[in-house]
């Protein structure tokens, strides 16, 4: 177990290192730097750009730049964004994260609750009309992009009915409703379908038939045998979903004008804000890979039959 964790951590470090090199080299390999892209009303002169480049060390060879960045990054110092020199990258991410995490966390909760309920109903009424309806609903809802749903919701509930604001951000719950629904609803589809599949598989096991033939009531079989076994693949695929959604969706944040991580990532890339691009990329990558590791460990804890070392072979 410990060996597996250590090996996974080494793997994560490898992925992050590779990703940082990839990000670093590619972002600098492209023509156009932070001071000469976009619609600039008063372009800087060559000399001014050179001065800026010297200030941020962009005139040095790329290997030297990277090693310098790596040395700082090891101590969690990712520098300052070019467009907000008074802040640090870490500070900016921490300032933006709460918005994304709130919207994404609520959306994930909504998707999980509704999705699991729908999936469980479909599985227990397998091949019935209800099952077909739920399944079709799950496919349809799962294919609607969040930002498209966002527009439709904002129009009907915002513009037509005036129930909720169509966008923007103030610290009031009513600003949250539409983004959360637009973000969470499409995710219901996937959750419901996976829940149904896991439960159907668990229901086809021999011990379920045995329990049925012993005369255990349907509810008892479901609770004691089916749910507990179906929970294993469900947990391992739904758990990574939560941090994944909490890091924010650039589509939803753009649609509703939420000042979150996704929105800033798009902007930072547009303005070639190198420290911010790399900072957010690495932050996301660490979060996602660590979640997978935790899921792996949890997998062993909830299912004693699994041995991670054996899985490798």
């Amino acid at each position: 177990m410990l060996r597996h964790i250590l090996r996974s951590l080494a793997g994560i470090l490898w992925v992050i290192l590779l990703l940082s090199i990839f990000t670093f080299v590619l972002s600098r390999a492209v023509p156009g730097g932070p001071w000469d892209v976009g619609d600039i009303k008063f372009p800087l002169t060559e000399h001014q750009i050179d001065l800026y480049k010297a200030k941020y060390g962009l005139d040095k060879p790329i290997l030297e730049q990277y090693l310098l960045w790596l040395r700082n990054a090891v101590t969690l110092d990712f520098g300052s964004p070019y467009l907000a020199p008074e802040m640090t990258v870490t500070g900016l991410i921490m300032k933006l994260l709460p918005y994304s995490a709130l919207v994404g966390g609520l959306a994930a909760t909504l998707a999980l609750i509704l999705g699991i309920i729908l999936g469980a109903i479909a599985a227990s009424k397998q091949n019935s009309l209800l099952d077909i309806i739920i399944n079709s609903f799950a496919i349809v809802i799962g294919t609607i992009p969040g930002f498209v749903l966002g527009f439709l919701l904002a129009y009907y509930f915002g513009v037509k009915l005036h129930w909720f604001p169509t966008g923007g951000w103030e610290n009031q719950p009513k600003y949250l409703v539409l983004p959360v629904v637009a973000y969470g609803f499409p995710a219901i589809g996937g959750v419901a379908r996976w829940t149904r599949q896991c439960m159907v598989e668990a229901m086809s096991a021999d011990y379920v038939r045995t329990a049925h033939s012993k005369g255990v009531r349907q509810a008892g079989v479901m609770a004691r045998h089916v749910l507990r076994n179906a929970a294993i693949p469900m947990v391992t695929s739904f758990l990574p979903m939560i941090p994944g959604m909490m890091t924010g969706s650039m589509f939803i944040e753009r649609t509703f004008g939420i000042p979150g991580l996704g929105q800033y990532f798009v902007n930072s890339a547009n303005t070639r804000d190198y420290p911010l691009i790399i900072g957010i990329t690495i932050f996301w990558a660490v979060l996602i890979t660590v979640t997978y590791l935790i899921t792996d460990i949890l997998y062993v804890i909830i299912d004693p039959r699994v041995r991670l070392e054996a899985k490798k072979q």
Partner: protein, 294 residues
């Protein structure tokens, strides 16, 4: 399929071959049939857009800017008076191009890598596995967004960026399948007969993986259509003035609140298209279910 539920007794069906059986199962699936019909319509519209569209995609009608749907402009016009119906018809082109070309290139890269890695094993397998790990450790949109930023937004670069992230799936599928097919008796027999490895790969392994590869081709397309719409929505895909469904939403700006036709028609088109491709893929999955016939 399961216990606890009594399935109706199926009448005996004469076995008519794998693909005939697949088509029979496919035909029974409502979403799949919707998918194949709507996708055919999209393909026809995309090919014949210049003939079918009432106006050019960039043609402006200054007298009727932001007009609601009328007989003159069936889906209304946008802020500079371009006909929305014509723009939506032309927008099926980048949608199909991104979906199909990306998936074709991804298969051409992923499938040979997967089959060779699965068959040969060893150091090549190890390298491919690490690459796959690297690309699956991150969500596709992050990598695509990043690549697009670097390459600058355009149709070609969108295809390049999406290919870099989407060869992984066909590679994984074909590798996994090869691993199991390799151990089959007929592969063993072919090896014993001294048939060269490349012929085993092409004549014995590839045909076995074909149905599943067809599915993995289809299943990638809805995501790619979504990706094209999403990236164009963010201003990172098809650049204006060339039409794209996502970009029509992204550039609706403040107008959409007062002129709902500007976002309703592109929105519906995006939803119906992705649903069609998804239905097609799902139908294929049940039609060629590996447990049923392989």
């Amino acid at each position: 399929m399961t216990t606890g539920v009594t399935l109706p007794v199926q009448p005996p069906v004469r076995y008519a071959g794998f693909w005939a059986g697949a088509w029979r199962r496919f035909r029974r699936n409502f979403l799949a049939m919707y998918g194949i019909i709507f996708v055919s319509i999209i393909v026809i519209v995309a090919i014949f857009a210049p003939i079918l569209a009432p106006y050019g995609p960039l043609e402006t009608d200054i007298q009727h800017t932001l007009s609601a749907p009328s007989l003159l402009h069936l889906m209304g016009t946008d802020a500079v008076g371009r006909d929305l119906l014509s723009r939506i018809m032309f927008a099926t082109r980048p949608m199909l191009l991104v979906g199909v070309i990306t998936q074709v290139i991804s298969m051409l890269i992923g499938v040979p890598l997967g089959i060779i890695a699965g068959y040969a094993g060893g150091i090549f397998n190890y390298i491919v596995q690490r690459l796959v790990d690297f690309f699956s450790a991150l969500p596709w949109y992050l990598l695509v967004l990043f690549l697009i930023m670097i390459l600058t937004p355009s149709l070609n670069n969108l295809i390049i960026a999406l290919t870099i992230t989407s060869w992984v799936y066909p590679c994984r599928v074909s590798r996994g399948l090869t691993l199991s097919v390799r151990e089959m008796d007929y592969a063993e027999a072919a090896r014993a007969l001294g048939i060269p490895t490349w012929r085993i790969l092409i004549n014995h392994i590839l045909p076995q993986t074909a149905p599943l590869l067809l599915w993995s081709f289809a299943v990638g397309i809805p995501t790619l259509v979504f990706a094209e719409a999403g990236m164009s929505f963010l201003g990172l895909g098809i650049r204006p003035p060339d039409p794209s469904l996502g970009q029509m939403l992204g550039t609706a700006g403040q107008f959409w609140q007062f002129f709902p036709h500007m976002f309703i028609f592109p929105s519906l088109m995006i939803i119906l298209s992705i649903l069609a491709f998804q239905g097609l893929a799902d139908g294929l999955r049940t039609a060629i279910d590996v447990n049923v016939n392989i």
